[in-house]
């Protein structure tokens, strides 16, 4: 059945997809959080929904800790842990405002959450407690682990880098090199830097090392723009996902396209067909062989493109030609 390169997942969420994430060491399981207040676990080999649990309000992000533990949070401010084996959920704690981003940090075996209360909180999965809360300069919009550091993107284009080995203070404080609101941040698998996207069809490749030689390598490029009737429509770049072995990355935009880029050689490797709504979420599987594409209209425009309000999750089997640097 894997002969088809792309298919839709059956029984998708009933509202917009907010996040998709593959399990840490298999291409079989995919977590999906949604504005319909659910978190769903799909078996993409059999194309079935394995389980579903509810929040009280829309869920904005979900993360695997390991193959059997999922963490989710959203507008309800609460961080939930779900044990997939025992089908039981427990509440880890809360933010003062909605939780926007959840990341698992393998380096210290901890869960990181970033919220609209301008806090990043660190959670210990063994003793379900919050072990630290770190004030950020503004509302957290993006968060990504990068080795033993993590990068926080907030409103007003602030970027804060923290070192998990020393959380006494911020490691670096920067301003986004893009002129518009930060939309998504993802750390390179090689832990040297991160990719940051904005709402204005643009992506920046940044390096953590602040020496001039390293900083010389940083750059930004335009993407996810469509020219229609002599007006250039510029779309938010909603999602970024790295191919763990090739260090190439996919971006998904509200224009409905997924592009795959070779960040080191500044090349676009491929572009998929246009989806029927914006691409809201992306996730490569751990081995980079499968890409999950969450497609949803996120109220970017007054009317959905083409009047469509599609909510689908596409599973696409990608090949080396699409993902490997040439």
């Amino acid at each position: 059945m894997e002969s088809r390169t792309e298919f839709k997942i059956k029984s998708p969420p009933t509202d917009a997809v907010s996040a998709v994430e593959f399990g840490p060491n298999s291409t079989q399981f995919l977590l999906v959080s949604s504005w319909d207040s659910t978190v769903r676990l799909y078996d993409i080999h059999a194309n079935t929904m394995r389980l579903k649990y509810n929040h009280d309000l829309p869920v904005l992000d979900v993360a695997f800790q390991d193959a059997v533990h999922a963490y989710s949070g959203g507008l309800g401010n609460t961080l939930k842990m779900y044990d997939i084996n025992s089908n039981s959920e427990s509440i880890m704690g809360t933010h003062d405002k909605p939780i926007r981003k959840i990341e698992y940090c393998a380096a210290v075996n901890a869960i990181l959450t970033g919220g609209w209360d301008a806090a990043v909180k660190l959670w210990d999965p063994r003793t379900p407690t919050c072990v630290g809360s770190y004030l950020q300069p503004d509302v957290v919009l993006a968060l990504s682990v990068c080795g033993d550091k993590f990068v926080v993107g907030t409103a007003k284009r602030k970027v804060c880098i923290w070192d998990l080995r020393n959380m006494a203070g911020m490691f670096q404080r920067r301003e986004s090199s893009l002129k518009y609101q930060t939309r998504c941040i993802k750390g390179f698998p090689n832990e040297q830097g991160y990719v940051l996207s904005s709402i204005e069809g643009r992506v920046a490749v940044e390096y953590l090392d602040t020496t001039p030689e390293a900083q010389k390598k940083k750059y930004a490029f335009k993407c996810h723009r469509i020219k229609e009737n002599n007006v250039e429509h510029i779309y938010p770049v909603n999602a970024i996902s790295f191919h763990s072995t090739y260090n190439t990355f996919a971006t998904g935009g509200s224009d409905g396209y997924v592009n795959i880029w070779d960040g080191f050689n500044k090349k676009r490797l491929c572009q998929f067909h246009r989806y029927n709504a914006g691409v809201a979420a992306l996730s490569f599987s751990h081995d980079g062989s499968v890409l999950a594409i969450g497609v949803s209209y996120l109220n970017e425009a007054e009317i959905p493109p083409g009047g469509n309000d599609e909510r689908e999750i596409y599973i696409r089997y990608v090949n080396d030609q699409e993902t490997k640097p040439k």
């Binding site: 917009a16 907010s18 504005w35 207040s37 509810n54 929040h55 009280d56 309000l57 829309p58 507008l75 309800g76 401010n77 609460t78 509440i91 809360t94 405002k97 909605p98 926007r100 609209w116 301008a118 004030l135 950020q136 300069p137 503004d138 509302v139 919009l141 409103a155 007003k156 070192d163 080995r165 020393n166 006494a168 203070g169 911020m170 490691f171 670096q172 404080r173 920067r174 301003e175 518009y180 609101q181 709402i199 204005e200 953590l208 090392d209 602040t210 020496t211 030689e213 900083q215 002599n230 007006v231 250039e232 429509h233 510029i234 938010p236 909603n238 509200s254 996120l298 109220n299 970017e300």
Partner: protein
Amino acid sequence: MQVHKEAIDKVPNSLPNRSNIEIEIYGMEGIPPNDAKEHERQRNGGRPGSPSSGEDEPVRKKAKPEGLLGSAPGAMPTGSNMMPGVMPGMAAHPGMPPMGSFPPPMHHMMGPMGPVGPPFMGPGMMPGMAGMPPGIQQPVSGASIPPTRPLFPSAAAVSTATSTAVSSPLGTDFKPITSVAGGSIGPVKPTFPAYSNADSNTTTNNNIGSDQKVNLIATTSAAIKIIHPPEDLSLEEIRARLPKYQRRQTQETRTVQTADASQQAAVLQQQQQQQQQQQQQQAAAANAAAAFQDQQQRQQAALNALQQQQQQRFQRPPQAVMVPASAAMPVSSVALMAPLMRPTMTLAAPALIHGGNMMRPPPMGLPPGKSL
């Protein structure tokens, strides 16, 4: 006319209105009277930027620093154009020494300018440069940074951000950082709380109540369109205000209750009541929308809405009876989250009052326009 044995009838590659080959200008002689007049007009404060005035721009810029030496920082960002412009500033330099407090601010200035200056400025320029801003420089050293920022973002970032402190210990290798990180964080700490306090204050302002303060996303020209709502909030923050994400929770709670208690009829009734209530809420919201422009009026409207809801609650005791049922929900977090969720407020009066200021009018103002 012949050039290189080829007859030409217009100046090749020229601006459309400058292709005339008849005009011969040598030095300042031979300029057509019309163009000379136009040039004079523009020099004397005519509008710049008209297409023909392109060549006149530098002249105008030169004139500015001459006249406005004191406020010259405004001219600083013009980069290489500075060269001619600064000359007069240097002429003024001999007059500077009488200012007793001159040397210290100069030191100050060298900080931010350091990375910027050398590439295109001769050493002789520096005094002239430093001579200009002292007036502003002294009170707040940071004040001089904003004008320079747009031109040299990276340089400004280096000078303003704490990364200067960080960059020195940072080698090409990451390992040494741990040992130094503590030291480098020293200077970060004092600045951060101040920043974050200010910032978090503004964000709370932004998020609660006063939506006028939210920045708008600037679009630069008519030929491009950023597909994003005008407010500079994330798509999720904007979407979260949709009424359905406030409402849903109550409905789902209710359905869960049905499942638990299997009281379909009661719930139906309740949903009707709830709908009624929503209609009333919307009516209140309409009121609120009418009074939208005025902050005080808005608050009052919200108060009205509060009162209405309270009255309603007293009229309908059955709903209060349902309160314990909500505890039967699988999710025990209701109490924790109550203050933020408007729907639960219909269940718990204290939460409603407590969360009063969370009930910002905008979500309520939305329904009349956007409700289905």
